[in-house]
């Protein structure tokens, strides 16, 4: 996807976040700045504890920043809203609602006309490939299917920016690969903007237009690398491996510095 006809959708400026645990202060984020253009697929990568989830949660509006600002389409973000949809690693589906009802939750809450809700919900059930399970409850689904419901739920709610926090982290390799493919397919068809947290270099290179590398102590944005490989990407190709080696070296140099 080219960024030519697009604009800056999300602007994160000098974001800082301090947690106070008892007597101790943890600087989870320091001076993090990031601009995301409409339609971009961004992967956030970095060692655990470097503030990836914190950054995502501030953008989602679940946490407030200690300093700095987040604006979406130029408007400051204050609290959670339907324009930003979060896909959690542990799904967070409503267990008392069926697949169809979970997907309908957002449109219903926003009070859209009944007919419109129905159209939307039915079409997104198909988009995420859950037609046969539309009336099943979450506990009857596999992990991969649950994550599809979670994706369908934010898509049906017209989220413009989809935030995904290690969404495929708990899934087996095969399911993960399929979901990556499907996610890319959906992204290309629906012109979404995605920020995707992962700790797999391979996953980041498979998915991203840009890989943003974060580092810990204090949590900060360290590198911002554009992945120029053509799509669809082939994990076995030589150029893919070259990029993987390069990014791996970056991540490991942090690790070496941190643990030295």
């Amino acid at each position: 996807m080219t960024a030519a006809a697009s604009f800056d959708l999300l602007e994160v400026r000098n974001l800082g976040k301090e947690f106070i645990i008892g007597e101790e202060r943890v600087l989870a984020l320091k001076d993090a700045s990031l601009t995301v253009r409409k339609g971009e697929f961004i992967c956030l990568i970095g060692a655990s504890g470097c503030g990836k989830s914190t950054l995502l949660r501030i953008v989602a509006g679940f946490e407030t920043a200690t300093s700095g600002s987040v604006t979406l389409r130029g408007k400051p973000v204050a609290g959670p809203g339907p324009d930003r949809g979060m896909v959690f690693q542990d799904y967070a589906l409503f267990p008392w609602l069926t697949v169809r009802e979970n997907i309908a939750f957002g449109p219903t809450e926003r009070g859209l006309p009944k007919a419109e809700i129905k159209d939307k919900v039915e079409s997104f059930i198909d988009v995420v490939g859950l037609r046969r399970f539309a009336d099943a409850y979450p506990h009857q689904l596999s992990g991969g299917m649950k994550q599809r419901v979670a994706i369908g739920r934010v898509l049906a709610n017209d989220a413009e920016l989809v935030l995904m926090d290690e969404p495929f982290g708990a899934l087996d390799a095969m399911t993960r690969e399929r979901l990556q493919e499907e996610l890319l397919d959906i992204w290309q068809r629906t012109h979404l903007t995605v920020i995707f947290v992962t700790h797999s270099i391979e996953e980041a290179i498979t998915l991203a237009d840009r890989v943003v590398v974060m580092a810990a102590g204090p949590g900060r944005i360290d590198r911002d690398e554009r992945i120029a490989l053509p799509r669809p990407r082939d994990v076995a190709a030589a150029d893919f491996n070259a990029v993987r080696r390069e990014l791996g070296a970056m991540l490991h140099s942090h690790h070496a510095r941190k643990t030295a």
Binding site: F62, R84, F88, A92, L93, F94, F105, R132, H139
Partner: protein, 291 residues
């Protein structure tokens, strides 16, 4: 893996044809035995107790307790009359209905008060700080201790009985509702708020359904306790009711009447619980713990 945690994705395969072919009779017998087993097992202890009772009274270990046969005969008279024709003949339905109206009335009032209160105590910090210590303080006081005060407030009669049943059922429902709300996965609130849900809609759409399994546990315990306290509740000078009948039996030294009252309360409480459980299973179809 039990049948209940099967996912839709791996529905059971058809049983191998060879195993079932040619022996349908045997299979049906085995299936019947499987279904009868829990019922039979549940009857073992009551049957033993019954046998012991029969044995002990037949051998005159005590003369104060009537034999099972006497009690059965009395139960018949209590229900349908025609044997003794005394003041209690054919009055079972009157007492049962009177007690049921108090048990269910008090229980429904308790649920109507405890569920909204519990939702608010669980979810709103100010309400919790305001009310939680107060309820914790009142909770250890047994219903029996409230009897005199209740009679002062509500006078002799059914109102007092109502209020005592209410007290008995209130705390388990309240505590379980609070517990249910407190243990909702906070991610669900985040998910709902990002989907555009807020304010009172959060109560209806997330807090209530998420706490429902726990609320149902509270309702079961509460209804059980409502039956449990009915005898105390009917010590308030009501003329009718199973508790009143038991207290009359005690004053008149009619032990068979006391035992009949106990049996009816036990069975009525048991059936009430089954009804609540069935309702719970319907409303909680989505929960793997309630299949």
């Amino acid at each position: 893996m039990t049948a209940r945690d099967q996912t839709v994705a791996d529905l059971p395969a058809a049983p191998p044809a060879a195993a079932t072919a040619g022996r349908p009779g045997l299979l049906r017998a085995r299936r019947l035995a499987l279904r009868a087993q829990p019922v039979l097992l549940a009857l073992v202890v009551p049957a033993l107790l019954f046998a012991f009772w029969q044995f002990a009274t037949a051998n005159r270990w005590t003369r104060l307790i009537p034999t099972p046969y006497e009690v059965a005969e009395y139960m018949w008279d209590f229900a349908f009359g025609g044997i003794y024709d005394d003041a209690f003949s054919a009055t079972l339905h009157v007492h049962l209905l009177a007690s049921m109206s108090r048990v269910y009335g008090g229980f429904i009032l308790a649920a109507a008060a405890a569920i909204p209160l519990g939702l608010m105590i669980g979810r709103i910090a100010v309400v919790r700080q305001l009310l939680d210590p107060f309820f914790q303080l009142l909770r250890p006081i047994p219903v029996t201790a409230w009897l005199p005060l209740s009679m002062i407030f509500f006078g002799l009669g059914p109102k007092s009985a109502f209020s005592l049943v209410f007290l008995g059922a209130f705390y388990p429902i309240l505590l379980n509702t609070v517990f249910g709300v407190r243990s909702v996965d906070p991610r669900l609130f985040e998910a709902a708020s990002m989907l555009g849900c807020s304010g009172s809609a959060m109560f209806r759409k997330v807090v209530l359904p998420a706490a429902l399994p726990s609320i149902f546990t509270g309702l079961r315990l509460g209804l059980g306790l409502a039956w449990f306290v009915i005898v105390v509740g009917e010590m308030t000078g009501v003329p009718q009711g199973l508790g009143a009948a038991i207290m009359d039996g005690r004053t008149l030294s009619r032990t068979e009447l006391v035992i009949c009252g106990m049996i009816v309360i036990g069975v009525a409480g048991f059936l009430s619980d089954k009804a609540v459980q069935a309702l719970g299973r319907r409303l909680l179809r989505w929960s793997p713990q309630h299949q």
